[in-house]
């Protein structure tokens, strides 16, 4: 309670004012809600651990597959990281370009509306992205995959044989890229807006072209914001479930071959696909893999937030 005594716009200046019961109840409720957030987050971790323990302690032969728990989770972690990294590599440059377009290239009058269009991409439910990915994008990419196999087949990534359905790791990565695009671009846009206009005007006044102004004033200033934003996008891509579950054709195993029909699954998609028909120790195994996903995304998100917040602290014209 002592923390609530020194409230921001300090109440009536009569020194120690009377504590009304209404105040006490209200402040207590508010504080309780705040602490509940901490409890929920701790609860998520705790309950996942409790339900994962049977899988962690079970003998290796009871775990699905034959490699024990580690053999079960590692290919999933690999698939998760691979899909997310593809998404990140595709989405980040595109998102930065879009942020620059909306901030510095688009006509002022249109900029806000165009920004809203990009934000619409974030509003579309992930299952609809899955529908779009499997029915529209995947078939359209098949000729492209065949071209890759013919011309760049010597690179292990494109060794093929090219999938005939297009439901490959590369397609999944592209769908994820579209899904994280609005997040990365929204945060980049926000940071680019914070660039002190003095910096930009100084660059222009010295005769810089628009690109030189952006390269010298905007990008260095916004770099950490872009990094943080793309890491938030990475966190989203790591945890994305339905789009991957629908689009990716899964066979397990670890492979860097991006365009064949045999791909490792991702943790989240594997849970969505297996959970409804599982029981007993299988469920515990899935929850253990979910715990791994939770830890990975938590680490990525914390790092991202730390980077974004560090920027926010000394933003402004300094």
């Amino acid at each position: 309670m002592s923390s609530t005594r020194t409230t921001p716009p300090s109440p009536p200046g009569t020194g120690r004012s009377v504590r009304r019961p209404g105040d006490r109840v209200f402040a207590g409720t508010a504080k309780g809600a705040g602490i509940l957030i901490l409890v929920i987050l701790a609860g998520v971790a705790a309950f996942l651990v409790v339900e994962a323990v049977p899988a962690l302690t079970a003998p290796a032969e009871e775990i699905p597959g034959d490699g024990g728990l580690v053999g079960y989770v590692v290919p999933l972690v690999f698939g998760t990281l691979l899909a997310a990294v593809i998404a990140l590599l595709v989405a980040t440059p595109l998102a930065v370009a879009i942020a620059l377009f909306i901030g510095y290239y688009a006509p002022r009058r249109l900029a806000q509306g165009l920004g809203y269009l990009v934000d619409l991409l974030a509003a579309i439910p992930s299952i609809v992205y899955g529908f779009w990915g499997i029915f529209w994008l995947a078939p359209k990419l098949v000729p492209f995959f065949e071209w890759l196999e013919r011309n760049l087949g010597f690179i292990p990534l494109f060794a093929g044989p090219a999938s005939t359905t297009g439901r490959t790791m590369l397609t999944t990565g592209l769908v994820l890229a579209v899904m994280i695009l609005p997040i990365v671009s929204a945060i980049s846009r926000e940071v680019f807006l914070q660039v002190p206009s003095l910096h930009r005007e100084a660059a222009l006044a010295l005769g810089a072209t628009r690109w030189e102004m952006i390269r010298m004033a905007v990008l260095p200033y916004g770099r950490s914001g872009v990094i943080g934003g793309s890491m938030l996008g990475l966190g989203r891509a790591l945890g994305e479930t339905m789009a991957v579950a629908i689009v990716l054709s899964v066979s397990g195993g670890i492979t860097f071959n991006l365009i064949s029909s045999g791909n490792p699954s991702t943790i989240a998609a594997n849970i969505a696909l297996e959970f409804p028909e599982s029981s007993g120790i299988d469920i515990n195994t899935l929850i253990a893999s979910g715990l791994a996903l939770f830890v990975i995304t938590l680490a990525v998100n914390m790092l991202a937030r730390a980077i974004v917040n560090r920027r926010a602290e000394f933003s402004g014209a300094n």
């Binding site: 923390s3 402040a27 508010a30 879009i98 377009f101 990009v118 439910p125 529209w136 339905m242």
Partner: protein
């Protein structure tokens, strides 16, 4: 475009030459404004002529046109205006095409969903469930109602907690607790939706035994996703309330909690409404947590404390992935469900915008 700053040099060295046009000798010349457009038009014509030779499709046509046009703009600018201007134009082309590229998924997705989903957007879809349906007909009444029940329940759980947390953060909290909660709310925004579902399952499995499926589990899973969104948006809005209003209220001897309830919240009610609506829009399309906490049924079950329930996203998923023997009918239903879902989400987004427009506090000045 604002490169008139180099004008002194230009006029000094090119007094004899015309100010505009495509002088090829000096590096200080200026291209006409229409020159880049002309480059792209020319590229389109060239690629169009080559169309029959290379057996192109529309996507490749656009791709080659953009690449060729960009190249032409770059080279032309480089010879006429110099390399710095050329780089500038090149980046402009790249940035604009990046935006165009980002619009491709949006447009194609909306087109695909509308054109495929419109077929079954009829009365039966909204009025009947899937009980006894094999093949043609049937609808998503049970799933739509299920989604409404679950979403309402989620909102009931999340909004009070989220709102009170935001009030705590803005009005009461100081120091380390405030920083900790703010940071963890941010982190919570990033919890994967499937993990939230697993959490709800684990919570109930401990108390009710494994294999449990309840509507309330889904609502709790969605609350884990919705609370941080509500907190973030409410916090932003509450911060915007001017301190003078609070101080005026204190000066009249109004207790702090009544100040919050009667002054701060009403002032920011438009923003709060917008934030809550957007948060609902965020969770209404969530599939993964509901898939593992609610499962699916074919019958209508509106009691969130009694067994499996159908929801629209999960319904769409199962209709698509387990369509039954003639898959066409179920696939059609899946697309219509996706269309209804998109309409729902977009509708909520529009409502959010309307709220912020019509309920915004009247500015006194």
């Amino acid at each position: 475009m604002s490169q008139t700053s180099t004008a002194p040099v230009a006029t000094g060295s090119s007094a004899s030459g015309g100010p505009r046009g495509t002088r090829r000798t000096g590096r200080t010349g200026r291209l006409a404004r229409w020159a880049p457009w002309a480059c792209f038009a020319g590229a389109a014509v060239v690629v169009g002529v080559l169309w029959p030779l290379f057996d192109l499709n529309v996507a490749l046509f656009v791709l080659y046109t953009v690449v060729l046009g960009t190249l032409a703009v770059y080279l032309l600018t480089r010879t006429v205006e110099g390399s710095r201007q050329a780089t500038d134009r090149l980046v402009t082309c790249l940035v604009v095409s990046a935006f165009g590229l980002a619009m491709v998924p949006l447009v194609s997705l909306v087109w695909e969903v509308v054109s495929r989903g419109a077929a079954r957007l009829d009365g039966e879809f909204f009025n009947s469930s899937l009980v006894g349906i094999v093949g043609e007909g049937g609808g998503a009444y049970h799933a739509i109602m299920g989604t409404l029940v679950i979403t309402a329940l989620t909102t009931l759980i999340s909004v009070p907690i989220g709102l009170m947390t935001a009030i705590f953060l803005v009005e009461y909290a100081r120091g380390r607790l405030k920083r900790a909660i703010t940071f963890l709310v941010d982190v919570m925004t990033g919890i994967p939706s499937i993990v939230a579902g697993l959490f709800a399952y684990a919570l109930f499995a401990i108390f009710f035994g494994p294999g449990i499926r309840l509507g309330i589990m889904g609502a709790i899973a969605l609350s884990v996703l919705m609370i941080p969104v509500v907190v973030r948006s409410a916090e932003e809005v509450l911060k915007l309330v001017p301190n003078e209003l609070r101080e005026a209220s204190y000066a009249l001897g109004v207790p702090k909690w009544r100040t919050i309830v009667k002054v701060v919240v009403p002032t920011s009610i438009a923003g709060l409404g917008t934030g809550v609506t957007l948060a609902i829009a965020r969770v209404v399309g969530e599939t993964a947590p509901l898939l593992i906490t609610l499962g699916i049924t074919n019958a209508t079950n509106l009691d969130p404390f009694d067994g499996r329930m159908a929801t629209l996203p999960v319904y769409a998923y199962y209709q698509l992935t387990q369509p039954g023997v003639p898959p066409q009918f179920a696939t059609d239903r899946a697309w219509t469900a996706a269309l209804v879902l998109i309409i729902l989400v977009m509708g909520l987004n529009v409502v959010a915008r309307l709220i912020s427009r019509f309920f915004a506090p009247k500015s006194g000045r």
